[in-house]
C-alpha cells in the first residue's frame, strides 16, 4: 500500500505521541518551575508511544507520506528498541548527579528529539528521509554531548563530535548524490530497479556505496569512522552516553540494513539476498575486512584504558564489529542475528553504564581506581550486576551476550567465512582480559583507606535489577526474542 499525507496519519500515531510529548514539554519548560516533573512526563510519553508501537506491530507493510516512510515490522522493531533505550536513559537521568547540573527542561526535550530522529532513521524509504533522520539524530547528539556546564571535557567532546559528524554526513550525502545521478531517483524502489538492471559505472557506484557506508558506519561507530566515539563517550553526561552507545548503534544498523538490503539487493530463495549492484567487485570482502579491523582495533585499544567510560566506548566499537559480521553473509540468518544482538547489547550495555553512573554519583570519578573493592564498600548489588553485564559483554554462558554471539558466529560459519569466525573468537578472548580486570578490581582488590563507602542511587535500583534479570533470562530462554526478531525481518519490499 502507498498512502498519501492525510491517510498516513492514522498509521503514524507512535510518532505523533512522541512529537506531542516533545511539544508539550517545550511549552511546560516555559511555565513550570519544577523541572523534575518533566522527566516523568517524558517517561510517560515514551511509554505511551511504546504501547502504540507494539500495537502497530504486524500491520501490513505500508508506505506512508508518498513513499517517504516505510511502516513495516522491521521499522517497528527498531522503534521499540529506540523507545526502550529512551525509557532507560530518562530513568537513568532522574537519578544522575551529572544531569542535575544541566538545564533539565532542554535536556529532556533534546533527548526525546534525538529518539524521534531515530524513528526516521529506522523507517526511511527515501535517501532524503534517511539523510534528514540521520542529521536530526546528529544535531541533537552534539547538543546533548556539550550540555554539561563549566565542563571542559564536555565542550571538547562536543566539538570533536561535531567535526567528525559533519565530515561523515558530508561524505555520505556526496555518495547519495552519485547514487541519485546513477539511479535517477532518491526513492528506494526506483534505486532497486536501476540496480537490478546493472546500475551504472561499477567504480563510481562502488565509491558511492563506500561513501554512504562511511556515513552510516559513523553512526554505528565502526572503524575507521569510530574516532569520535571514545572522546564523546567520555565527555558526555553518563545517561546520554548510555543512550548513545545503544540507540545510535541500533539506528545505524537499521539505516544500513534498509539501504543495503531492501533498497539495493534482491531477496532470493530461502532468505538469501543477491547484492546485484556490483557484480564485478567483491563487496563482501570489504565488509569482512571492515568487521575484522573494527573488532580488533576496538578490543586492542580497550586493553589499557583506565577510564571505565572510555573502556566501554572501545568495547562498543568492538561490538559494532561483531554486529557487522551479520552483514557479510548476505542472508536473513545474518540479519536475524544482528537484530538479536542489538537487543541484547541494548540491555547489557545500558546496565553497564547504569553502574558507571551509580559509582560516579557516589564518588564523582569514572576511573578504574574508583571501583577498587566496590563490592565491600556498600555497593555489593551494583558490583554483582556489573559482573553479570561484563560477563554478558564478553559472551560467556549463561548470559544473553553468549547467545547473541553464538547466533552471529553460527551465521558466518554457515556462510563459510571461517577466517572471520576465528578472528571473532580470538577477539572474545582478548576482551575477556579487560572486562574481567574490572571484575577483579571490584571484588578482589582491597579498598584503600581513602575510598569511602559508595551509596547506591536508590532510584536506579529497580532498573538495574530488571536489566540484570533480563540479561540472565535471555541467556537461558531466548526463544521469544528470537521469534520476535525473525518476525521483524518483514521488510517493505519495493
Amino acid at each position: 500500500m502507498d498512502l498519501g499525507n492525510v491517510a498516513s496519519l492514522s498509521l503514524f500515531y507512535p510518532e505523533i505521541v512522541l512529537a506531542g510529548t516533545i511539544l508539550v514539554l517545550t511549552i511546560l519548560d516555559l511555565v513550570v518551575a519544577n523541572k523534575r516533573a518533566m522527566a516523568y512526563l517524558g517517561l510517560a510519553g515514551c511509554l505511551v508511544a511504546l504501547g502504540a508501537t507494539v500495537d502497530l506491530y504486524g500491520t501490513e507493510p505500508t508506505l506512508l507520506f508518498h513513499r517517504m516512510v516505510a511502516l513495516d515490522n522491521f521499522s517497528l522493531f527498531f522503534k521499540v528498541v529506540t523507545l526502550a533505550a529512551l525509557v532507560g536513559a530518562i530513568w537513568m537521568s532522574i537519578g544522575s548527579g551529572e544531569v542535575r547540573q544541566v538545564h533539565l527542561g532542554e535536556y529532556y526535550i533534546v533527548l526525546l528529539t534525538c529518539g524521534f530522529g531515530m524513528f526516521f532513521m529506522a523507517s526511511a524509504n527515501n535517501l532524503l528521509m534517511a539523510y534528514l533522520g540521520l542529521e536530526l539524530v546528529s544535531l541533537t547528539s552534539y547538543i546533548l554531548t556539550g550540555m554539561l556546564p563549566h565542563n571542559r571535557r564536555s565542550a571538547e567532546a562536543a566539538l570533536k563530535y561535531l567535526i567528525y559528524g559533519g565530515v561523515a554526513s558530508g561524505t555520505m550525502i556526496y555518495g547519495m548524490s552519485w547514487v541519485f545521478g546513477m539511479a535517477g531517483s532518491l526513492d528506494y524502489a526506483t534505486i532497486n530497479a536501476a540496480m537490478a538492471e546493472g546500475g551504472g559505472n561499477q567504480i563510481a557506484l562502488f565509491m558511492a556505496f563506500v561513501f554512504i557506508l562511511a556515513g552510516f558506519g559513523y553512526k554505528m561507530a565502526f572503524a575507521p569512522f569510530h574516532m569520535w566515539s571514545p572522546d564523546v563517550y567520555q565527555g558526555a553526561p553518563t545517561p546520554f552516553t548510555g543512550f548513545l552507545s545503544v540507540a545510535s548503534n541500533a539506528a545505524g544498523v537499521a539505516i544500513l540494513i534498509r539501504f543495503f538490503y531492501p533498497a539495493v539487493s534482491t531477496l532470493g530463495q530461502e532468505g538469501a539476498w543477491a547484492f546485484q549492484a556490483l557484480p564485478a567487485l567483491q563487496w563482501t570482502d570489504l565488509l569482512v575486512a571492515l568487521s575484522i579491523i573494527t573488532m580488533t582495533w576496538g578490543n586492542l585499544s580497550a586493553l589499557n584504558q583506565r577510564n571505565v567510560k572510555r573502556l566501554l566506548a572501545y568495547s562498543g566499537i568492538a561490538h559494532a564489529g561483531y554486529i557487522m559480521m551479520g552483514l557479510v553473509v548476505l542472508n536473513n540468518d545474518g540479519l536475524n542475528a544482528m537484530l538479536f544482538y542489538v537487543v541484547v547489547y541494548l540491555i547489557m550495555n545500558l546496565g553497564a553504564f547504569l553502574v558507571v553512573m551509580i559509582v560516579a554519583n557516589a564518588t564523582g570519578r569514572e576511573d578504574m581506581d574508583a571501583y577498587r573493592g566496590l563490592a565491600w564498600r556498600g555497593a555489593a548489588f551494583p558490583a554483582v550486576c556489573m559482573m553479570v553485564f561484563l560477563a554478558s559483554l564478553t559472551g560467556l554462558p549463561p548470559m544473553a551476550g553468549f547467545i547473541g554471539k553464538l547466533l552471529l558466529v553460527a551465521a558466518i560459519i554457515e556462510g563459510q567465512f571461517y577466517v572471520l569466525a576465528v578472528v571473532a573468537m580470538i577477539n572474545t578472548v582478548v576482551s575477556l582480559y579487560y572486562y574481567w580486570r574490572i571484575v577483579k578490581t571490584m571484588f578482589l582488590d582491597e579498598p584503600a583507606p581513602e575510598d569511602g563507602p559508595v551509596a547506591a542511587t536508590a532510584s536506579a535500583m529497580p532498573l538495574l535489577g530488571a536489566l540484570m534479570v533480563l540479561t540472565i533470562v535471555l541467556g537461558v530462554y531466548w526463544a521469544p526474542l528470537l521469534d520476535y526478531t525473525t518476525g521483524s525481518l518483514g521488510f517493505f519490499m519495493p
Binding site: 539523510y131 571535557r153 565542550a155 559533519g166 558530508g170 550525502i173 541519485f180 532518491l186 585499544s301
Partner: protein, 97 residues
C-alpha cells in the same frame, strides 16, 4: 556540461575534505565542512538537470540542515572558546587515548 559540473563538484569536495584534515582552526574546519556540503549541492543540481527534479529538492534540505548545523556548531565553538580562550584544535587535548 555534466562532466564539467561534476569535476568542479569533486574538486570542491576534495578541497573541503583536505581542509578539514590539515587546518587546525575549528572555524576554518567548520567552513571546510560547509564546502563539502556545497560540493554535494552542485552535484545534485547538475544531476537533476538530467534525471529529475528530486535533486533540487534535496538541495534545499541540505542548505537548511547546513544552517542548523552552523547554529549548533558555532554555539559549541563559543562554549569551548570560553574554556580555552582559543579555537585551535591542537590545544584541545583533555580527551585522548
Amino acid at each position: 556540461m555534466l562532466t564539467e559540473a561534476l569535476t568542479t563538484s569533486a574538486l570542491l569536495f576534495v578541497i573541503g575534505t583536505f581542509g578539514v584534515l590539515v587546518r587546525r582552526n575549528a572555524i576554518i574546519m567548520f567552513l571546510c565542512i560547509e564546502l563539502q556540503l556545497n560540493a554535494v549541492n552542485l552535484a545534485l543540481v547538475a544531476f537533476s538537470r538530467y534525471v529529475g527534479v528530486e535533486g533540487q529538492v534535496f538541495v534545499f534540505f541540505v542548505m537548511t540542515v547546513a544552517a542548523a548545523e552552523a547554529a549548533v556548531g558555532l554555539a559549541i565553538i563559543i562554549s569551548i572558546f570560553r574554556h580555552y580562550r582559543t579555537v585551535n584544535v591542537d590545544n584541545f587535548n583533555l580527551l585522548k587515548w
